[in-house]
Symmetry: C2
Subunit: 345 residues, 2 copies
DNA sequence: TCTTATAATGTAAGCGCTAACATAAACATC
DNA sequence: GATGTTTATGTTAGCGCTTACATTATAAGA
C-alpha cells in the first residue's frame, strides 16, 4: 500500500523541463508550447501522476472542498438536499462533506473548530426549523464563520438573515395548497406544523393563514397544531386533535408540514376509523419516495430539494449574492378528494 | 471575509518561543514545560488560532479525511450507512466525503482521479448488488485504489474479495426468517430478490434456499424472482408473479429483498385484492423509517446499517484486517401472520 | 566538581505544489 | 543590425505546518 506518490519533480526531470512548466500544463495555462505540453502530458500519463490537492490547496488557498451543515441525513428531505449538493459539487470539481448541527451550536469563541481548520472554500447551512431560542446564537455563529469562508443558507431562511440563500417559497406554496383544497369544497382545514410558533415569516404556517383569509374561512385555533415534524409527532398531534374535538368538528382536510407528519396523520386517521380520502383528505409536503406507496398514496408537493442543494453550491462557487427561490410541483395522488364525496355517504 | 489566518509563526513570536514549540503543544507532545505550554495555549486562544489541516496534511501525510463510495444516498439504506460512518468519523476527528459509484467504474488507468488527488486516509466502498458483469472491473479498480489508501468494504462482499469488510450475515438472516415463516405454517414462500443471479454466495437469496431445504420445502422456480431492488421493481415483480400464477398457487408469504421492494409488494397485493397479512404475509428488510407507517405496518429486519458504517470507519482507522459481521433484529409488526388465520376464512 | 543522562527548546529542511519574477529564445519593427 | 515585444521556460520564495537533528539548560551520578 501507499506507493510513493510521484510528484511534479518526477515529471519535470523525466521530461527535462522545470517544475514550473509541469505546473503550467497541470493548470492548463496557455503559454506552453504544444510540443512541451504534449511531452509533459504523456509523462504524466505514463507515471499515472495525480497532483496532490493538499499541496495545491496550501499554496493556492483553494481547497476545492465545501461543507454542508444539515440536521440529519436520515430524514430523506435532507438526504435529497445533500445529494443535490454533492452531485453539483462533484461536477464542478469540488468535494463536499457533511457537518452536524452541533458544529454551529458551540460555546464562546470556538465555533466549529473543525470547519475552520479544514479551510473550506464554502459552507452551506440549512437553517430549517430553527428553535427560536437558538436563533441568536446560530446567527452569531454564522457571522463568525462568514469571516472564514463564504456561507450560503438553505431552507426556511428568515429575511433578516443577511446571507445569500436558496429556499422554497413556503408561504406561496401553502397558499396554493389552500386554494387547491378550498376549491375542492373543504372548509375545515387543519394544519399540522413544525416546532416553532410564528417567529419565521417564511414558514409554511404563514401561507396556511393567508390561504384561510383568501378563502374567507375563519381561523380555528384547534386546527392549527404544532409538533416536531416527525412521523411520531405527526401521529401524536393528530391523535390529540381528533380526541379533543367532537366528531362533527373534525377537519375534512389535513395539511401536514411534511410527508413524515402526513404518514403519522394517515396512521392516526386509520386508527380512528376515518377513511382517507372519503372522509378526510390528507396532503403532505416533500414528496418522499414512499409517498406513492402509503395507503392511500399520498398527495404531496415535490419541493425539488435536490435542486435547492445544487443551487446552493452554484451560488457558493460563483460568489453571487442572491436570495433565491426554487419552484415546487403538486403531485396529485389518492389522499385528497373533493368534499362532495363525503356528503354522498 | 477571509481574514488573514493566524499561523504558527504568529503564536510563536507572540509568546517568544520557536515554532517547533508551538507545534509541540499543538500536537500534545509531553516534552514541553508546563509554563510554556500554558503561555502558548493562551496565545492560541487569544488569537483564535486554528491550525491549517491542509498544511498539517502536507507534511504529516495524514489528511484526516476519508471517502465513502455508495450507490445513492436517496435510498435510506445507504443514508443510514453514511450517517453511521459520518458520525464515527467525526468522533475520531475525521471528515468523510461521499463519492459516487462512477468513481470506480472508470476506464483504463484513471480510476478515481479525484479520489487519489485528495490523498484520503482511507476509503469505504459499498459493493452491494454488484452487477456481475462489472465485478471484475470493480475488483481491479479496488486493487488499484488500495495501492494509494486503505480500503474497507461494506455490504454484500463476496468472500473472494481480499479486503477487510463489514456486512450483515445475509444468509443466516434469511435462514432465520425462513424459519420464522415456516413456523407460522407457511409453505408457499416467495422471495423477491435483487438483480444478480447467484454469483454472490453471501447474498440473501442463498439463505432463502437454505431455509427451504431446512424446512424440507420444494424449491419452486416461480417463487424466486429477481428484480432491481426498488419499490417500482418490487411491484412489477410481484404483479408478474401473481398474474402468471393461478390463484391457488399464489404464495402465502413474501420475503422482499428490502423494504423498498416490500412496499411495492404491498401495493401489488392491494391491487390484486389480497389482504395482508390475512391472505398473505409480507416481510421486508432494513427497517426503514417508513416501515411502521405502511399499511399494514411492515414486519422487517433491522440490519443496523449505521453500525455497519461506523464499524467500517473504525476498521479503516485502526488498520485491522478483519471481515466482520453485524447482528440484526427482527421487528415484528402487522404484515406477517400465521397461516391458520387464512384457513378460517 | 566534572561527567553524563534527561528534559526543554531551537534550527532548518522539507512536504508538493503555486506564482511572482527573471531569463532566454523567437519574432517584429524601423 | 540594434531595439523592442512577445512567447516559452526557468528560478526561487513561499504556503503553514512536521520532524529529524542540534543545542542548551537542568538534574543526577560518581
Amino acid at each position: 500500500m501507499k506507493r510513493e506518490n510521484t510528484t511534479i519533480y518526477d515529471i519535470a526531470s523525466e521530461v527535462g523541463v522545470s517544475i514550473a512548466t509541469v505546473s503550467r500544463v497541470l493548470r492548463g495555462e496557455t503559454n506552453v508550447s504544444p510540443a512541451t505540453r504534449e511531452k509533459v502530458q504523456q509523462a504524466m500519463d505514463r507515471f499515472n501522476y495525480r497532483p496532490s490537492s493538499i499541496a495545491r490547496g496550501l499554496t493556492s488557498k483553494i481547497t476545492h472542498s465545501l461543507g454542508i451543515i444539515l440536521p440529519k441525513l436520515l430524514n430523506p428531505h435532507y438526504a435529497m438536499i445533500f445529494t443535490g449538493a454533492q452531485e453539483e459539487a462533484r461536477k464542478l470539481g469540488y468535494t463536499i462533506s457533511l457537518f452536524p448541527w452541533s458544529s454551529l451550536d458551540t460555546n464562546a469563541y470556538n465555533p466549529a473548530a473543525m470547519l475552520i481548520e479544514r479551510r473550506l472554500d464554502g459552507l452551506i447551512v440549512c437553517v430549517e426549523y430553527l428553535p427560536p431560542e437558538h436563533d441568536e446564537r446560530v446567527l452569531a455563529a454564522l457571522r463568525t464563520l462568514r469571516e472564514y469562508m463564504p456561507v450560503v443558507l438553505i431552507g426556511c431562511v428568515p429575511p433578516w438573515y443577511d446571507f445569500p440563500a436558496v429556499a422554497n417559497n413556503n408561504a406561496a406554496m401553502m397558499r396554493s395548497i389552500m386554494e387547491y383544497l378550498t376549491k375542492m369544497g373543504h372548509e375545515k382545514i387543519a394544519f399540522i406544523g413544525g416546532a416553532q410558533e410564528d417567529k419565521d415569516p417564511l414558514c409554511r404556517d404563514v401561507g396556511y393563514e393567508e390561504g384561510l383569509r383568501a378563502a374567507r374561512l375563519p381561523y380555528t385555533a384547534s386546527y392549527r397544531i404544532y409538533g416536531k415534524g416527525t412521523a411520531e409527532a405527526g401521529k401524536a398531534s393528530m391523535d390529540e386533535m381528533l380526541d379533543s374535538l367532537k366528531q362533527e368538528y373534525w377537519p375534512t382536510a389535513i395539511i401536514a408540514l411534511n410527508d413524515l407528519v402526513a404518514m403519522g396523520c394517515l396512521q392516526s386517521a386509520r386508527e380512528h376509523g376515518i377513511a382517507v380520502p372519503e372522509q378526510m383528505s390528507v396532503i403532505g409536503c416533500d414528496d418522499l419516495f414512499c409517498a406513492p406507496y402509503l395507503y392511500p398514496p399520498l398527495t404531496s408537493i415535490n419541493t425539488h430539494q435536490q435542486r435547492v442543494g445544487a443551487r446552493a453550491v452554484q451560488l457558493l462557487i460563483s460568489g453571487e449574492y442572491k436570495q433565491e427561490t426554487v419552484e415546487w410541483e403538486l403531485m396529485e395522488r389518492a389522499s385528497c378528494a373533493p368534499i362532495t364525496k363525503k356528503r354522498e355517504e
